[in-house]
């Protein structure tokens, strides 16, 4: 039975693909209700099969070596004997976890979008693109080799591009979609280089070979291990929007809110984390890469959290919060291995960071998706993204209020919500890694997270309404998916032990156990409580007066933070002033004047020669004859 399920596991991908093809090719102008029903059916089928596959996998788990299973394997590209890429369905703890997350969220977002996109001119196109995204994302998480993963990696990029620019008549949306695509493509170029290096040395694309200790040894011997892993991580750097490539994610909020919810918070942006986790045994061999990952993750977590405090746009707050949480996941991965003895062999291995990172991916997907969906409901009612236009929505929207409260408590890390458990685990992992700075950064970011999330929450729901609202009602299409998401948001904490014990990378086994200091959860809770308390003091009444006074006290510092440290401006300066005007302009001058000049000179010389020769052929018969005779006589005499 299980074999049968595994053999047809490609169906998980085929349902959304089918949905994309049918809606995209045949039903762009059909009845919206039919398209919605069709999309939801396909999405449910995909979820059903994913759950079936998960059950089959779990039943097989005790017998699996390294907990991995190639459920489906078909020959795809035969480059050379010994260098082939197969199409496969790779099942291991993290891919099964992501299968469930992606299909569940995809179904809920599909249902939600029926309400959110109601009356939109391009309703059907939206569902087609959403299905394309689900297909690509599912393909990405189940890829059995790095080349297949790269193909799906680009496919999610394309669907993200198409969905950010979904309202293509808005210039800002078009600009944002281009920005997202270019920034991630820039990173993907390095990813491709990394793939080439790794596959060149290991003669293989499959993760099973790449993750084996032999490959790490081979790459290490060739001296390219750090370079290759860093290049591969660059792909995740762009996709998971780590500093300084984070600039595309806040702008990506130009897309419809369900898109931000599924692509730019819950699933696609964690692809970078997922990639790192997928290749973890290789990364684990490269200590310096892990250190870079840890630093960049921690920095992004703090950096984005600071910016999130000052933002006024409901979706941008969530976007920066996503960045910050992605930073958590990344630095947790970086903290996963500790070489306490300094040597490569016999080092103490601690994989808690890996499990913690994946656990945070899991919990974050649900509560962040829910926050975005809730924000979408609010935007739908208020018709504005500005939190200063909101306020006092608690009475009119009780269901959204209570669900979002759960999500905010979860992301703030309050016991017993899911975020508490995953964040606690990440903090523990960073503490065990011995890097005190990242631990402190994680702790402070936790407090900041609680602060800005409750600032967001109080300003939206508490106090008095700051704008005129007509016919406020909660569309059941939109509220039920949010309410459904409260279940994993509250209960995902129960899975902590499963993650610690089962979600581990292959070929690495836990060697040593570190103590779990009893004070850590208390400290984390205290920091979260300070954050929430601060938010309550400043914004609890849903007013901004107290905050405005504080804002004045900080003055220019606040302006710098609110403008996101001017990173966007810096990029514009670099691209326009330095690259376009400086480098590109001088290269253009060289091309126009020197390269083109040489070509033009050749042409001009030939033209001149032709002009001279043409003088002879003037059509005067007598001249021709005279020349002939003179030439003949000259030949005669020369013959002598």
């Amino acid at each position: 039975m299980a074999d049968f399920i595994f053999f047809h596991s490609y169906l998980i991908l085929l349902f959304p693909l089918f949905s994309f093809a049918i809606i995209g090719l045949g039903h762009l102008n059909s009845d919206n209700r039919f398209v919605a029903k069709f999309a939801i059916t396909m999405s449910s089928l995909s979820l059903g099969y994913a759950l079936l596959t998960t059950l089959a996998y779990l039943s097989r788990l005790p017998h699996l070596p390294e907990r991995t299973l190639l459920a489906y394997d078909a020959a795809w590209l035969n480059f050379a004997p010994g260098l082939t890429a197969n199409l496969g369905m790779y099942l291991d703890p993290i891919s099964v976890m992501m299968l469930v997350v992606v299909t569940v969220i995809s179904l809920l977002v599909n249902i939600y979008s029926v309400g959110y996109m109601k009356g939109d001119r391009s309703f059907n196109r939206f569902f087609a693109l959403l299905a394309l995204f689900s297909f690509s994302m599912l393909g990405l998480v189940t890829s059995g080799n790095i080349l297949q993963m790269f193909v799906f990696w680009e496919l999610v990029g394309v669907s993200s591009y198409a969905l950010i620019g979904f309202w293509y008549e808005k210039p800002s949306a078009v600009a944002a979609s281009k920005k997202a695509f270019i920034v991630t493509r820039f990173a993907d170029a390095f990813f491709l280089l990394g793939i080439l290096i790794v596959s060149f040395y290991s003669q293989s694309f499959s993760f099973q070979t790449l993750n084996s200790p032999e490959t790490a040894l081979l790459l290490n011997k060739a001296g390219v291990l750090t370079l290759a892993t860093l290049l591969i991580f660059c792909g995740g750097w762009g996709k998971s929007a780590m500093f300084p490539l984070h600039v595309w994610l806040p702008d990506a909020m130009e897309g419809p809110t369900p898109v931000s919810s599924i692509i730019h918070s819950a699933t696609m942006v964690v692809a970078g984390v997922y990639l790192t986790a997928r290749m973890f045994p290789l990364f684990a061999a490269a200590e310096s890469t892990l250190f870079v990952i840890q630093c960049i993750g921690a920095f992004t977590a703090l950096f984005a959290a600071v910016i999130a405090i000052t933002q006024m746009d409901i979706k941008r707050i969530l976007a920066f919060s996503t960045l910050s949480q992605l930073g958590y996941m990344i630095f947790s991965l970086g903290a996963a291995k500790v070489c306490a003895e300094g040597g490569h062999h016999g080092a103490e291995v601690n994989l808690l960071g890996f499990s913690a990172s994946m656990y945070h991916v899991f919990t974050h997907a649900f509560f962040k998706c829910m926050l975005f969906l809730g924000a979408g409901v609010v935007i739908h009612v208020v018709h504005s993204n500005d939190i200063l236009q909101m306020g006092g929505l608690k009475r009119q929207m009780p269901r959204t209020y209570w669900s979002l409260l759960a999500a905010c408590l979860a992301i703030g890390g309050v016991f017993p919500f899911s975020g508490f458990w995953s964040k606690d685990m990440i903090l523990l992992a960073s503490l065990q890694s011995g890097h005190w700075i990242t631990f402190l950064v994680g702790l402070i970011t936790g407090g900041l997270t609680a602060f800005y999330m409750f600032r967001f929450f109080f300003l939206i729901f508490h106090g008095e309404a700051r704008s005129q609202l007509h016919h406020v009602h909660e569309d059941p299409w939109m509220t039920w998916p949010i309410i459904a998401l409260t279940v994993p948001t509250i209960l995902a904490g129960l899975l902590e032990h499963t993650f610690v014990e089962q979600v581990l990378p292959p070929h690495l086994s836990e060697v040593s156990h570190f103590a779990h200091p009893g004070w850590l959860p208390w400290l984390a809770t205290l920091v979260a409580a300070i954050g929430i308390g601060g938010a309550w003091l400043l914004y609890g009444e849903g007013k901004t007066e107290k905050a405005a006074a504080l804002q004045k006290a900080f003055g220019p510092l606040h302006t710098v933070v609110q403008n996101k440290f001017y990173i966007d401006e810096l990029y514009l300066f670099i691209t326009h002033k330095i690259i376009f005007n400086g480098i590109a302009a001088s290269i253009k001058w060289f091309d126009r004047n020197v390269v083109d000049g040489v070509m033009n000179l050749c042409g001009w010389l030939l033209h001149l020669g032709g002009k001279g020769v043409r003088l002879v052929q003037n059509g005067e018969l007598h001249l021709y004859l005279g020349a002939t005779v003179v030439g003949l006589i000259a030949l005669l005499f020369m013959g002598r």
């Binding site: 003037n618 059509g619 007598h622 004859l625 005279g626 005779v629």
Partner: protein, 101 residues
């Protein structure tokens, strides 16, 4: 009459022809000059056949051959000249130079 006399005559005819071709402005005059040059060549053929060849018939055949070819050539050239005259109403070669490259 020796071979030298005949060669001199043919040379004179050829020179007259070339002079005519170079100086005449009229297409018909140029055509006549070409004929004179051809006849100079024919005399050369006949003279050499008469004085030097073992079998004089072989030399006599060539002038006949040249005459036939030149008759054809004249027919074609006259046709061109007539059509040109109809079109341009003049046969001055200095005025017909728009065919140059």
């Amino acid at each position: 009459m020796t071979l030298s006399h005949c060669i001199a005559l043919s040379l004179i005819l050829c020179a007259i022809g070339i002079f005519g071709m170079l100086t005449r402005r009229n297409l018909l005059g140029i055509l006549l000059s070409v004929e004179i040059i051809l006849n100079g060549a024919n005399i050369n053929f006949a003279a050499f056949a008469h004085f030097r060849a073992a079998d004089p018939v072989a030399g006599a055949v060539f002038p006949v051959f040249v005459m036939a070819v030149s008759a054809c050539e004249i027919a074609v050239a006259l046709a061109i000249i007539i059509s040109m005259y109809r079109r341009k109403k003049r046969l001055d070669v200095y005025r017909l130079e728009e065919l140059h490259g």
